[in-house]
């Protein structure tokens, strides 16, 4: 198990390094980035940039200084917001984005699993068809379309919910709904198909042959096995939620990291783009790493497998 974790950990470091390097190389290639000759209008900003990115040194030195800044978690100044560093933006925006993201993924997980299990238990019944139609719709309607529809119908037209921003629980409902529906649909479909597969297994029949009640068979014997595939896609889902926050925060005017990121893209604020991309990537890769370990703990077979190999 320790070997397995160690291997995954190295993989994680490697991936983060690749992303960081890729970002550096790409940023060096475009005009308007701090690495190019082009100067910014603001003297103070330019000075900050030069200091942070060691612009008077050769590229290789810049590269190592850049790697060091990533390791020390210091992403440098913003071009368009002279008073802020990337770290300031992260500190301000990330907690809000994280709140939105965590609520959404929890909602998506619970509702998706519930929907998938019910559909599987009522296989080919009315509820199954209904749940799966909802799920395909959920996958097909892009989150930004759903978000605008929700605002238009539930906020502007009927006034049940506030239109935008992130203040009270009431403010959180629509953004969460818009962000969670897609992942929920994916989880529901996956849960259903893996549940259907598990339900045909001999050990389920065996559990029924013991005289266990249907609820016990489903919860104790089927659910844990059926949720294994769901655990494996958690990383991908998290990535979806994270990129989803870009548009959701833009539409609902939520002052989170996603909105700063989109702003930085539109304004070509390269240090912010660089810093945020690396930060987001590292975050996601770390999440994937955690998911891998969680999977190893949940499935007793993995442990032995890896030990045998090692």
């Amino acid at each position: 198990m320790i070997r397995y974790i160690f291997k995954r950990f190295l993989m994680m470091i490697l991936t983060i390094w690749i992303i960081a390097t890729l970002t550096f190389v790409l940023m060096n290639a475009i005009p308007g980035s701090p690495f190019n000759e082009e100067r910014t209008s603001n003297e103070a900003v330019q000075e900050n940039l030069e200091r942070h990115f060691n612009l008077d040194e050769p590229p290789i030195v810049q590269y190592f200084a850049y790697l060091k800044s990533i390791v020390t978690f210091d992403f440098g100044p913003s071009i368009k917001k002279p008073n802020d560093t990337v770290n300031d933006l992260l500190a301000r925006g990330f907690p809000i984005s994280a709140e939105l993201g965590i609520i959404s993924i929890v909602v998506a997980l619970f509702s998706g699993i519930a929907l998938g299990v019910i559909a599987a238990l009522r296989h080919n019944g009315f509820i199954d068809y209904l749940a799966m139609t909802i799920a395909v719709l959920g996958i097909s309607i892009p989150n930004f379309v759903l978000a605008t529809l929700l605002i238009q119908q539930l906020a502007v037209n009927t006034g049940i919910f506030p239109v935008a921003t992130w203040q009270s629980p009431m403010h959180m409902i629509l953004p969460t709904l818009a962000l969670a529906t897609g992942p929920m649909a994916i989880i529901a479909r996956l849960t259903r198909s893996s549940m259907l597969e598990v339900l045909t297994q001999d050990y389920i029949k065996m559990a029924r042959a013991k005289g266990l009640s249907p609820t016990k068979v489903v919860i104790k014997h089927a659910l844990k096995n059926a949720l294994m595939p769901v655990v494996t896609i958690l990383g991908t889902l998290l990535a979806g939620i994270l990129t989803g926050t870009f548009v959701i925060e833009k539409i609902f005017a939520i002052p989170g990291m996603g909105r700063y990121f989109v702003e930085s893209i539109n304004q070509r604020d390269y240090p912010v783009i660089m810093g945020t991309t690396v930060f987001y990537s590292a975050f996601l890769v770390f999440a994937l790493f955690l998911v891998d370990i969680a999977y190893g703990i949940l499935d007793p077979r993995i442990k032995l497998h890896k030990e045998e190999r090692g």
Binding site: I30, I139, S140, P142, F144, L149, Q152, T243, V262, I265
Partner: protein
């Protein structure tokens, strides 16, 4: 007259006597013919098509996509307006006989722009699927065929690429390359082929196993028959399904990027751009500007998803009875 067999099958000793003695002569077996299963065995593709055809939702998706393709080609020519024509006197006109889907804030015809957006979406989706397919087949094919160390190294690369956050990489690339149709497709495929490569590699490994079976001559079927009956169905099925499901992912990505301002640029239209432009209409009530792009993007993704699901069911050999 001979007694009817139905009556005779009600087992009673009395009935036994009703059976003519003549019936106790040996039966002339007309050998093979009778033993074989009666239901006709259809070719794999025909069978798959029959199963797909009976899946009404998938067929509805297919028909929708055919119509959409038709409109994407001819739709923009059905009106006197071009994508970028601005009739400033007719800003934000609701749908009418002149403007079938209304106009936007610059007086551009939403009908024309919608079908132009369909072109972009379908083009991006299909190109992404084809390029993924080409790279995936090449990479996965070599990896699976060579096997051993080469396979190991190539799969490690895939594993790392798989760990990269897809949309973030795409956004980064677009920031650098500048937004345009070709850069979008490039950015989408640069990491998108990984999934296809994995599937192709798995299929190639399977093919190799088939060759083993063949080499050991453990069954006497002809090679062409094995390829036709076993290999193609088993290998092409998952690949076709993967391609069908790549299309909506790419369409979504294009719309998403356009919505963020990283996609197709004005004056050209894409559904993502139109939806982004229409954000202000949430308050102004010009619903048609949001409705048409939003509806068609959702319907298109829905159609591809249900078609992909349908194909999966129709092509999965495990489900064959």
């Amino acid at each position: 007259m001979e007694p009817s067999t139905d009556k005779l099958n009600e087992q009673t000793v009395e009935r036994k006597k009703e059976i003519p003695t003549d019936w106790f002569r040996p039966l002339q077996q007309n050998n093979e013919g009778e033993n074989t299963v009666v239901r006709p065995s259809l070719s794999y593709w025909k069978d798959a098509w029959i199963r797909l055809r009976s899946n009404y939702i998938a067929m509805a998706g297919l028909i929708f996509l055919i119509l959409l393709g038709f409109m994407a080609i001819f739709g923009p020519y059905l009106t006197p307006y071009s994508v970028s024509d601005q009739v400033l006197a007719d800003q934000n006109q609701p749908p009418s006989s002149t403007y079938w889907f209304g106009t936007d804030n610059l007086g551009r015809d939403v009908f024309t722009r919608t079908w132009y957006g369909a072109r972009i979406s379908l083009f991006v989706g299909i190109m992404a699927a084809l390029i993924d397919f080409a790279i995936g087949v090449l990479y996965g094919g070599i990896s699976g065929y060579k096997g051993g160390r080469t396979d190991n190294v190539m799969m490690r690369v895939v594993e790392v690429l798989y760990g990269l956050p897809y949309l973030l990489v795409v956004i980064l690339l677009l920031v650098v390359l500048g937004p345009s149709l070709s850069t979008i497709i490039l950015a989408l495929t640069i990491t998108g082929w990984v999934g296809m490569a994995r599937i192709v590699r798995g299929q190639v490994l399977q093919i190799k196993n088939f060759e083993f079976v063949q080499a050991s001559k453990s069954f006497g079927a002809k090679t062409s028959r094995i390829i036709r009956k076993n290999l193609l169905p088993n290998t092409m099925g998952p690949i076709i399904v993967q391609m069908t499901l790549t299309v909506p992912t790419a369409i979504f990505a294009e719309a998403f990027l356009s919505f963020l301002g990283l996609g197709i640029q004005s004056p050209f239209a894409s559904w993502g751009v139109m939806a982004n432009d229409a954000l202000t209409t949430i308050l102004s009530g010009h619903w048609w500007r949001l409705f048409f792009p939003a509806f068609f993007i959702s319907a298109t993704m829905f159609a591809f998803n249900v078609l992909g699901d349908g194909l999966q069911d129709a092509l999965d050999p495990k489900l064959r009875r």
